[in-house]
Homo-oligomer: 133 residues x 2
DNA sequence: TATATTTGCTTCAATTATTGAAGTAAAGTT
DNA sequence: AACTTTACTTCAATAATTGAAGCAAATATA
């Protein structure tokens, strides 16, 4: 008897019901950039996510089918998190956040991010293809 | 002495610091679709936002320069909310949420939204131009 | 003109979410 | 055998959200 978590039948609203918070898309970002990551790797990203939050966001992402969790081939205590197709399809959302942030918050954005943004403005499609592969 | 609200210099993270929640982008959605709205109009959208939340999200959106609040020309107790350029530039983010939601949550999405999604898949660019104008 | 209604909020108590620090168990390293 | 690492969990304090109620000014209605 899983209750309905969706506030309406609007796809924007339903998407936000799943990942409309301050952490979930940052985890997706790290997985997009790195391909795969461990708990520790995700934990060390610069925004300082509390480990309790990281743990429950990973569970939610797994439950919604956006990531998989698999055993490390040689180290039994490490798990590897990876985006599924569904998770990779969040790349366009993230790309648009990068564009909005660069256009509207440029004084707060690092040089590294600005460089990436230039590539994006130059050829969004190939950046997307590269990220999602 | 306004303290820094941004967790890092990543534009994704900073964007989420501003509108990474379950309500803000729904207000932007309604303003995009309707062009302009009153408090009442926004309050009546189908997700049932609490009026206290609507009030503070409107303040935040105004503070971040994404919307304007102006007096109604003939009715002194009504205010009209409108997107600024900065606010309109959130349209691509919203469009990508629509696409992701339709692709990945289609069983929860209304027929009306599916029709709009078809238009989007057909010609995203002109839908965007229409929304942002 | 008096009364009722509408609009755009604010207030507040209860519930829920988040933080940040500490702890734990199993596995790996020295 | 002792120490460290990894992937978490636990928990108390703080912050955010909900949902209902209230309120003042403006407007509509009788």
């Amino acid at each position: 008897m899983s209750e309905n978590i969706f506030r309406s039948t609007c796809p924007i609203s339903s998407s936000l019901d799943l990942f409309g918070d301050k952490w979930t898309l940052l985890i997706v970002r790290d997985l997009l950039y790195h391909g795969s990551r461990t708990f520790k790797g995700l934990f060390q990203s610069e925004e300082n996510i509390p480990s309790s939050r990281l743990a429950d966001r990973l569970k939610k992402l797994e439950n919604m089918g956006a990531i998989t969790k698999e055993k490390h081939p040689s180290n039994k205590k490490v798990f590897i998190y990876r985006l599924t197709q569904k998770g990779k399809e969040l790349a366009p959302v993230i790309i648009e956040l990068i564009i909005w942030g660069n256009k509207n918050l440029s004084e707060h954005v690092s040089e590294e991010s600005k460089t990436f943004y230039q590539k994006l403005e130059n050829d969004k499609e190939s950046v997307l293809i590269e990220l999602m592969k």
